[in-house]
Amino acid sequence: MTSKAGPSCYSGDNSWERSYKHVRDNHKIHLEYTNREFETCLQHIEEVLDANEGLAEYPLYVKALIRRRQGKIQESLQLFQKATALNPSNVLNLKQVGRSLMLLGKYRSSMEVLTEAKRMNPDDWEVWHDEGICNAKARNYEKAVECFKKANAIHPHDTTYLALGGVFSAMNKHKKAVKVYLDGLKASPGNPELLMSCGLAYLRSDENYKAFEMLLKALSIDPKNPSTILATCSMIQEHADLDTALLKYRVAAVVNPSSSQLWNNVGMCFYGKQKYIASIACLKRALAIDPFDWIVNYNLGLVHLSTGQHASAFHFMSSSINLKPEYPSSYMYLAVILSKLEDIENAKAAYNKALSLKSNYLFELNYAITLYSFDMLEESLAHFRRFEELFRDQSRDAGADPDILEQRRVLANAHGIDLD
C-alpha cells in the first residue's frame, strides 16, 4: 500500500463521534425516490431512522412523500411535521405540510401554513401555486386566479397554466381558458396535457375545427391518453369516420377498460355501422359501469328502437327521462316507441311534453305521422302544417335530411296537399 501523505489509509477510522451517519444515505435515498424504487427506498429509510432514533430530517421527508403517494395522507402529514420539528426553517417541509393539508381537504389550515412559508420565502412560485389550488378547491375562483397569476409571474410553469385554465373552465369562461392554455403552450410547446385541455376548452367554446387540431396534436405526442382519445374520437365519430374512431378506441380500451363513456362511444360506433348486437353489448357494458348515466340509457333506447325491441326501448328511454327530465328529444323518441307499442294516449302526452320543451320540426313531423297512422287525420294535418312552417323556416339554408324529405312527401300525398 503506497501511502503518499495524510492520515493512514483505510485503517478503519470508525470513531462515530465524527458523526455523519444521519446524512450518509441521503443521496442514495434521494436517487431511489426519484427513480421510483419506492419499496427499496422505504426499507432504506427505516434502516437510517433506526440508526438515528427516528431523527433524521431528509429520510423523514422522503418517507412522507412516499406515504403520500401511497395515499396515506394523514401519516405523511405527521411525518412532515416531525421533519419540520427537526428543522423549522426549511421551507420545503412547510410547503409539503401545506400540500398534505390541502389533500386532506383542510384548505383553511393549509393556507395558514402556506402564508407562513410565504413569510420565509416570498418569491416562491410553488407557494403561490399551492395557495391558488387551495382557493380553487374552496371555490374562491377570483382569488385563485390572482394567486396563479402571481405564481406565473415569478416562474411560469405548465402546471400553473393547467390549473389556471381549469379555474377559468370551472367559471365557464372558456375563451379565457383557451387564452391561458395558448400562453402555456408558448412557454412549453407540445405539452400533451396543455394541448388536450386547450382542445377541450376550444370544444366548449364551439370552435370545433381548432379543437380538433389541438387534440390531434396532443394525440401525436401522447397517443395513449384515454381522455384525449375519447375527445378526439368523439369528434371523428361525428364526422362518420367510424373505423378510425374504433381503431383509436382500442388503445383507450387497453389503458382504461372501465370507462363508461368509452364503451358508450364504441357502442354508438357500432350503431353507426348498423351492427346492433355489438352495439347493445357495448352499451350494456357502459351501463353496468355507470348505471346512472342518462346518455347511455338514451342510446340503448335508440338502438332497441332500431332493432324493433320496442318494449326494452321503452324501459331505457323512460329511465333516461327519469335521470334527465329536461332533454326534449328523449320525449320524442319515447312517443315514437309508445306509438309502436300502440299506446296512442301516452304517445300524444309524450309528444306534447317534447314540444312544450322545444319546438322542433322533427317532433311535429313525427307527431303528424303517428297521428295519421292512428287515423286521427285532423290533428295530424294540423301538426303537419306546423311542421311545414318550421321546416320552411329552418331548412332553407341547410340541406335537409333526405329521409325527412321523403317522409314529408309521403305524408303530404296522404293528406292530399300539394307541396309546391
Binding site: S89, K275, Q309
Partner: protein
C-alpha cells in the same frame, strides 16, 4: 332472423381484420426502420450482479495501456469491479458504501495513468493502478462557539436541559438558513418536544466530554480539465456535499480544497464544461428541484425552477437537457430559456449524452419500461426494448471500440452494445413521428361481450310481441302498485306500521336495539307530528321467546306534545338461545280507551354468543321474576 343476428355477431371481427391490415401497412415502415440495427449486441451477462447507477460506472484507462476498462462500484456489495472486454478482470473490496465514481488525470508524469476516485461518506478513496493510493477526507463542519458553550455548560451541569434547549432554539432561530446547528443539538431540541426526561438525560450523558465533531457526506463528484480539454490532460475534481457545498479539489497539491462554493441545496448531479484555469461552468442539479449554475467559481443568480425532481442532466455546447420525474425532458438553451420538451411514454431512469464522428448531440434515455430511446436533440432515432427497467447507461470508448453503450438493468444484468459503424442515424421528423406514434395497443381488438343464443331468441320474440309484452308489463306494474298501496293502507289503519295519523294528530315511532348481548338496551322513540297534544297512551313490548327477560315491558305515556321526540329505554337480557322466529320484539302503542294498537315497531335481536351467557348465570334472576306478570298482560293486550 338468426342469419341476421349471426352476421352482426361477426361484425366486429370483420372490422378488425380490415383495420389490422391497414395498421400493418402503416406500421411496417416504422418496423423496417427499427430493424436497421443501430446497436450490435456485444456482450450480455444476465447474472453480472451489478447494482449501480450511472454515477457509479465509469469507462477508464485504469492501467494506462490504452485499453479502456469498465469500472463499476457497487454499494450493495461494497465492491469495485473491473471488466476487461468481456471478462471480469478484478474485484476489490471497499471499506464503505460507495456513492460515486470518477477518474481523474492527476499528475504530469509521462505515463498517463488516471486515478480512480471512489466517494463514500465524507471520504474519497483514490486508487492508482488499482491500488489504494490516498484517502481524502472532508474537513469537519464548523459550529458556532455559542453552541459549543451550551454543550460545555450541559457537561459541567451549569445548565439544565430545559435551559440548554431554549438557548439552542434561540441559536437556531438566529440563523436564517437554520442548517447551522449540529445534528446533536437538533436531536436534543426534537427530543425536548416528544421524548421523556430520562431519555434526554441519558442522551446528554452520552455526549458528555465528547466535542462536537460532525462531518458531512459527499453526494456527487465529477472531473473537470485544468486548462486544456484533451483526453489525458490534467484534471481537477469537483465534489458536491450534503450540506450544500461544492469543492474544487486539486489532485496534484495533495488533494487540497482550492475553492469552495456555497449552494442553496444539496447537489444531486454535477455537469461541468470548460476548464478550471480558463473559464468553466458547472451546472448543479439540486435536491430541491432547482438547477443552479456556477460560472468561474461563482454561483450565478440564474436558477431554473423545475416542478418535479430532476433525475439527470446533460450539458453540451448547444443546450442543456434536464430529465425529470414527470416523464419529461426539458431542453434549455445556453441563456436558460426553455426551448422544447420531450414527453416520454414511461418514467425516466437515466440519461446519457454522446457524440460520434458523424453525429453530435445525441441523447440516450433509459426508461422504467425497459426501453432505451435515442434522440438527436428532440428527434427520436431509435428505440430498443429490454425486458426489465433500465438502471444505468454509460457511453464511451470500451476496449478498442469507440462507441460503446454500457447498460445495466434493475435485476443487475449487464449489456454492452456497440453502435454499428454502418448505421445511418438520419434523424428526420418523419421517422421520429413514425416511431413516436407506434402504439402496440392499437392492435389489440376490442373485447366485445358475446351475446348468447337465448338472448337472440328473446329479442326475436320481443320483436314479434312487443306490444303485448309492454301491455302485460304495464298491467302487472299497476297491480303491483295497487297491492302495495293496499298493504300500506292496511298497515297504517290496523296499527301494524310505524306511522299513525288521525284528524287531530299523527305519531311516528322507531325502535332500535343496542349492545352485543346477552344484555341489550331497547330504545324506542315517539314523535307527534300533528298539531295537538295526545294524552293517555300506552306502550307495550311483546315477544314470543321465553328466553328474553325485560326490565320493563309497559310504559304509560300521559302526554305527547307536538314536535317533541320522546325516547323510552329499557334493559333486556337474552338468557337462552332464541330461534330466528323468536328474535322479534314488538313495540305496540295503544290508546287508553281501546285495546287495538294504533301503531307498532318491530326490532330484531342479534344472535347472542351462547358461551358468554353461561359464564354469568347468576344475573338471570335480576329482573326475571318481576315482569312475568306484565308479560302476560302485554300478550293480553295484543290479543284484545
Amino acid at each position: 332472423m338468426a342469419a341476421e343476428a349471426s352476421t352482426s355477431g361477426q361484425g366486429p371481427g370483420e372490422m378488425n381484420t380490415g383495420t389490422t391490415e391497414r395498421r400493418a401497412s402503416g406500421g411496417s415502415d416504422a418496423a423496417k426502420f427499427n430493424e436497421q440495427k443501430f446497436w450490435l449486441n456485444a456482450f450480455t451477462d444476465r447474472v453480472a450482479n451489478i447494482y449501480a447507477r450511472s454515477d457509479c460506472i465509469c469507462l477508464c484507462d485504469v492501467f494506462g495501456d490504452h485499453d479502456k476498462r469498465l469500472v463499476v462500484v457497487d454499494a450493495s456489495q461494497k465492491k469495485l469491479k473491473l471488466w476487461k472486454g468481456t471478462t471480469l478482470e478484478a474485484e476489490l473490496k471497499l471499506v464503505d458504501n460507495p456513492v460515486a465514481l470518477c477518474s481523474v488525470y492527476g499528475d504530469n508524469s509521462k505515463k498517463r495513468i488516471p486515478a480512480l476516485c471512489v466517494a463514500a461518506g465524507p471520504h474519497i478513496y483514490i486508487y492508482r493502478n488499482l491500488r489504494a493510493y490516498y484517502k481524502f477526507t472532508l474537513p469537519d463542519l464548523a459550529f458556532s462557539d455559542k453552541e459549543k458553550q451550551v454543550w460545555e455548560g450541559l457537561a459541567e451541569a451549569k445548565l439544565s436541559i430545559e435551559q440548554a434547549c431554549d438557548q439552542l432554539v434561540v441559536l437556531r432561530e438566529e440563523d436564517p438558513q437554520g442548517g447551522n446547528l449540529s445534528q446533536r443539538s437538533n436531536q436534543l431540541i426534537a427530543m425536548s418536544l416528544s421524548a421523556g426526561r430520562d431519555d434526554m438525560q441519558s442522551f446528554v450523558a452520552k455526549a458528555k466530554g465528547v466535542g462536537i465533531h460532525e462531518q458531512t457526506a459527499i453526494t456527487c463528484i465529477c472531473s473537470i480539465p485544468k486548462s486544456v480539454e484533451d483526453e489525458g490532460s490534467q484534471e481537477s475534481l469537483l465534489v458536491g456535499t450534503e450540506n450544500g457545498k461544492l469543492h474544487v479539489i486539486d489532485p496534484v497539491k495533495n488533494f487540497e480544497i482550492v475553492h469552495t462554493i456555497d449552494l442553496p441545496s444539496a447537489p444531486v448531479q454535477l455537469a461541468a464544461t470548460g476548464a478550471i484555469n480558463v473559464e468553466y461552468k458547472v451546472v448543479v442539479l439540486g435536491r430541491d428541484a432547482k438547477v443552479y449554475n456556477v460560472v468561474d467559481g461563482q454561483l450565478t443568480s440564474h436558477v431554473l425552477d423545475l416542478h418535479t425532481s430532476p433525475i439527470a442532466i446533460i450539458c453540451s455546447s448547444k443546450f442543456m437537457a434536464v430529465g425529470c420525474m414527470n416523464k419529461t425532458i426539458y431542453f434549455y438553451n445556453l441563456a436558460g430559456g426553455l426551448v422544447h420538451n420531450i414527453y416520454l411514454p414511461d418514467h425516466l431512469t437515466c440519461m446519457e449524452s454522446f457524440s460520434t464522428e458523424h453525429y453530435s448531440n445525441m441523447i440516450t434515455v433509459g426508461l422504467k419500461n425497459g426501453e432505451i430511446r435515442m434522440y438527436n436533440e428532440i428527434l427520436l432515432c431509435s428505440v430498443i426494448k429490454l425486458k426489465e427497467p433500465i438502471r444505468a447507461l454509460k457511453f464511451g470508448r470500451f476496449g478498442r471500440e469507440d462507441n460503446t453503450l454500457v447498460v445495466t438493468t434493475s435485476s443487475g444484468s449487464l449489456d454492452i452494445k456497440i453502435l454499428a459503424r454502418a448505421a445511418k442515424l438520419k434523424p428526420s421528423a418523419a421517422t421520429s413521428k413514425l416511431l413516436q406514434e407506434q402504439v402496440p395497443e392499437q392492435d389489440v381488438p376490442l373485447n366485445i361481450p358475446k351475446k348468447t343464443r337465448v338472448y337472440v331468441e328473446q329479442t326475436k320474440r320481443e320483436r314479434e310481441k312487443a306490444s303485448e309484452m309492454h301491455k302485460g308489463f304495464q298491467r302487472d306494474l299497476c297491480k303491483l302498485r295497487l297491492s302495495t298501496a293496499r298493504a300500506y293502507v292496511k298497515s297504517i289503519t290496523s296499527g301494524q306500521g310505524p306511522i299513525w295519523s288521525s284528524s287531530e294528530a299523527s305519531i311516528i315511532t322507531n325502535a332500535s336495539i343496542f349492545g352485543l348481548g346477552p344484555d341489550f338496551k331497547l330504545e324506542f322513540t315517539l314523535e307527534n307530528n300533528g298539531m295537538k297534544a295526545l294524552h293517555d297512551l300506552r306502550a307495550t313490548i311483546t315477544f314470543k321467546s321465553k328466553g328474553i327477560k325485560l326490565e320493563r315491558s309497559q310504559f304509560n305515556i300521559s302526554t305527547l306534545l307536538p314536535s317533541v321526540q320522546y325516547s323510552f329505554l329499557t334493559n333486556l337480557r337474552c338468557t337462552s338461545s332464541v330461534g330466528t322466529e323468536e328474535q322479534q320484539l314488538k313495540v305496540l302503542i295503544s290508546r287508553q280507551e281501546s285495546c287495538v294498537p294504533i301503531l307498532s315497531a318491530i326490532v330484531k335481536l342479534p344472535v347472542v354468543d351462547q358461551e358468554e351467557q353461561d359464564q354469568e348465570p347468576f344475573q338471570q334472576a335480576d329482573f326475571g321474576a318481576s315482569h312475568h306478570g306484565m308479560d302476560s298482560k302485554a300478550d293480553m293486550l295484543v290479543m284484545g
